[in-house]
C-alpha cells in the first residue's frame, strides 16, 4: 500500500484552461489526474448534440487532450479519471481506445467505462411503478414536466470508480459522476479505505471539493490579497497530496504561478456551500465544521481532522427540461449623460415592445457600469460616467415574440438617444431555456455498470 498519493486537478469545468492538464502531467510528479467537464447545463446540450449525431454527446476536448498526454501517462503510470463521457460514455471511451491504438499503445491502456447514470429512458418506468420523483425545491411532480424533459442523470459517487481502478483501468470515463468522487476514488483504492469509514470518505470528498474547481484553489478568483498573487498567466492547478492516515496537503507544482495558502483554501471550501454540517454526496455526509487547516510553508496547506456521517439512501438526480426562450442584447452609450441616455433608450424599447403586443414572462434591464453586479448597493453613478452599457434580456414561452425582440435593438441606434454604439455583433441570439428539476431517487433503483475496454 502506498503511503502517499498525489491527485492533480486538470479542469474545473468544460471550457477551462486547455494547457492545465498537460502542465499537471509534465510539470512534476503526480499519480492521478482528475478532470471535471460537466456543469448542470452541459448534459442537456450533450443530449441535443447526440440527437443530431449518434456519435456525439461527450466532451470531445477530452479526446484531444488524451491524444496529447496518454503517452506521458502510460510512461509515468498516471491514471486519469473524468466525467467527460456526458450522455455518450461508450462513444467517448471508444474514441479514447482508438486514440490509444493510433498512438501505438495497444495492450497498454485499459479504459474503465462507468454507466448507469443516464435514466432518461427509465423515467416513465419509474413513474409507472409509483416512484415519487418530486422537485426538491418546489415539490412539483415530474409528471407535470415529463414531456419537456431533455436529460435526466443520477449523480454517481466513487464506488464504480474504485471498482474500475481495481480492474486495472488506466483511464476512467463516466457520465454524471460527482466531481468529488473523481478525487475520492483514487484514495479509497490506494489506501484500501472502506466505504463505511465515514471520516476517511469525508476526507477524500473534501479533498475533491477543494480541487474540483481547478485554479480557484490556487490563486484564481481569489479575493484575499489578489493584487499580490504571482504569475497567474502560468497558474499551477491544485494537487492533493494525500496520506494513508487521512491527512492531506493542497499544493501545486514547483515553478508555477498562483498561490496556495490558507485564505485561498478557505474561499474555495465555502464555494457553493449549503449547510456546512451536511455536505451530501452519494458517498457520505461530510461535516465542513470539522475541517482544520495548517500552513506548511510556501504553497502547502495541510487539511486534517475531517469527520463524516453515513451516506443517505438516495441519489440526487439532475433533470433538465425545456422552459421557453430567451435573448439578451446590449448597446453602449457614451458621455455626456451616458446613464440618462441608456435609461431613455430602455424606456423607448419597452414602449415599442408593448405596442407590438409581445408577451414575455420577464423583461430585465441592467445598466453595465452602474448596477449589473451590485444593483442598488452601488448607489447612483457619477454624473460624468464615461460610458454605460444598456443590457436588456427577455424570456417567454413564445419563440416568435423573443425573436421579434432581437430585431428591436438595432433600430434604437438611429431612432433613439445619441452617441450610441456597440452593435457590431449583430442581432442577439434566441436561445432555448433549460430549467432544472433537482430530485432524489432511491439508490436501490439504479444499476451502475463498470466495463473495461482494452486498447
Amino acid at each position: 500500500m502506498k503511503e502517499k498519493v498525489r491527485v492533480a486537478s486538470g479542469q474545473g469545468f468544460w471550457g477551462d484552461l486547455l494547457t492545465a492538464p498537460i502542465d499537471q502531467v509534465r510539470g512534476g510528479q503526480i499519480d492521478y489526474l482528475m478532470l471535471d467537464y460537466l456543469a448542470e447545463v452541459t448534459m442537456s446540450i450533450m443530449q441535443k448534440q447526440r440527437a443530431r449525431d449518434a456519435n456525439a454527446g461527450y466532451a470531445k476536448d477530452f479526446v484531444s487532450l488524451m491524444r496529447e498526454i496518454l503517452p506521458d501517462c502510460v510512461e509515468k503510470n498516471i491514471k486519469v479519471l473524468s466525467n467527460a463521457g456526458g450522455v455518450n460514455v461508450r462513444g467517448c471511451a471508444e474514441a479514447i481506445r482508438d486514440a490509444a491504438k493510433e498512438l501505438g499503445l495497444s495492450g497498454q491502456v485499459k479504459i474503465g467505462v462507468v454507466t448507469g447514470d443516464d435514466i432518461l429512458p427509465r423515467l416513465q418506468e419509474f413513474l409507472d411503478k409509483g416512484v415519487a420523483i418530486d422537485n426538491m425545491e418546489t415539490g412539483e411532480s415530474l409528471s407535470e414536466i415529463l414531456d419537456k424533459v431533455q436529460s435526466a442523470n443520477v449523480y454517481l459517487g466513487a464506488k464504480p470508480l474504485v471498482e474500475a481502478l481495481g480492474k486495472g483501468a488506466q483511464t476512467i470515463v463516466g457520465g454524471r459522476l460527482t466531481d468529488t468522487g473523481l478525487t475520492l476514488a483514487p484514495l479509497m483504492h490506494e489506501f484500501g479505505w472502506t466505504f463505511e469509514d465515514w471520516n476517511k470518505v469525508a476526507t477524500g470528498t473534501i479533498a475533491g471539493h477543494i480541487i474540483e474547481c481547478g485554479a480557484q484553489a490556487s490563486g484564481g478568483n481569489c479575493q484575499f490579497d489578489w493584487e499580490t498573487i504571482p504569475d497567474l498567466a502560468n497558474v499551477g492547478f491544485p494537487i492533493v497530496e494525500a496520506y494513508s492516515n487521512g491527512d492531506f496537503v493542497i499544493t501545486k507544482h514547483e515553478g508555477t504561478g498562483g498561490r496556495v495558502n490558507i485564505p485561498a483554501i478557505k474561499e474555495q471550501l465555502l464555494y457553493e456551500m449549503g449547510d456546512p454540517h451536511a455536505y451530501i454526496t452519494p458517498d457520505v455526509v461530510a461535516d465542513f465544521t470539522t475541517i482544520h487547516l495548517k500552513d506548511e510553508g510556501e504553497n502547502r496547506v495541510r487539511v486534517y481532522g475531517i469527520e463524516g456521517k453515513p451516506n443517505t439512501e438516495f441519489y440526487k438526480v439532475s433533470i433538465a427540461y425545456s422552459a421557453g426562450w430567451k435573448a439578451v442584447g446590449t448597446l453602449v452609450y457614451s458621455y455626456p449623460d451616458a446613464y440618462q441616455k441608456a435609461k431613455l433608450a430602455d424606456k423607448i424599447l419597452r414602449s415599442r415592445l408593448d405596442k407590438l403586443g409581445l408577451k414575455f414572462d420577464v423583461v430585465l434591464t441592467e445598466f453595465v457600469g452602474v448596477n449589473a453586479t451590485h444593483g442598488h448597493l452601488a448607489g447612483e453613478p457619477p454624473q460624468d460616467i464615461p460610458e454605460v452599457q444598456l443590457r436588456v434580456g427577455v424570456r417567454g414561452q413564445n419563440k416568435a415574440d423573443v425573436e421579434r425582440f432581437t430585431k428591436e435593438l438595432a433600430p434604437l441606434i438611429l431612432t433613439g438617444p445619441p452617441s450610441v454604439t456597440g452593435f457590431a455583433g449583430g442581432r442577439p441570439k434566441t436561445e432555448e431555456i433549460m430549467a432544472y428539476f433537482p430530485a432524489l431517487i432511491p439508490k436501490s433503483l439504479i444499476e451502475t455498470k463498470v466495463e473495461i475496454l482494452e486498447a
Binding site: 425545491e137 430585465l364 431555456i433 432544472y436
Partner: protein, 114 residues
C-alpha cells in the same frame, strides 16, 4: 463608528439554482466574534433589500473563522433561466462586503481596526 465589512473579511460566492451562497471569512481570527455578532441573517437580508426575494440563512464555521450565507431567490430563477449578468451570483461576495458594521471606538482600538 461604522466600518465597511471589506475591512474585516474576504468572501467568495456561488450558486445553487436560484440561491446564491456567500462565504464570509474573517481577515484575522480575532474579527470572527465581531462578524458573528454583527453580520446576522437579518442584517444581511436588510442589506441586500430587493436583490434577495427569499429568506437569508446563516451557518457558522468557527473552525475556519467563517460564516456561510444562503440568499434564497436572488438569481432571477437561476441557471439558464436567469437573464442576469451575474446569473451565477459570483459578485454577491463583494456586494455583501459593502455592508457597514457597527464597531465601538474601544473595540476598534482593541482589534487594531483603522
Amino acid at each position: 463608528m461604522k466600518i465597511e465589512l471589506l475591512n474585516l473579511a474576504h468572501a467568495r460566492s456561488g450558486d445553487k439554482g436560484d440561491t446564491a451562497n456567500v462565504g464570509v471569512i474573517a481577515l484575522k481570527d480575532e474579527f470572527y466574534a465581531l462578524l458573528v455578532r454583527e453580520v446576522t441573517a437579518e442584517k444581511v437580508k436588510e442589506h441586500f433589500g430587493v436583490m434577495v426575494k427569499g429568506a437569508v440563512e446563516r451557518f457558522e464555521l468557527p473552525n475556519l473563522g467563517a460564516l456561510n450565507f444562503l440568499l434564497h431567490e436572488s438569481l432571477g430563477g437561476g441557471g439558464t433561466l436567469s437573464l442576469m449578468t451575474d446569473a451565477q451570483g459570483k459578485t454577491f461576495s463583494t456586494a455583501l462586503l459593502r455592508m457597514k458594521i457597527d464597531v465601538s471606538d474601544e473595540e476598534a482600538k482593541n482589534l487594531s481596526i483603522s
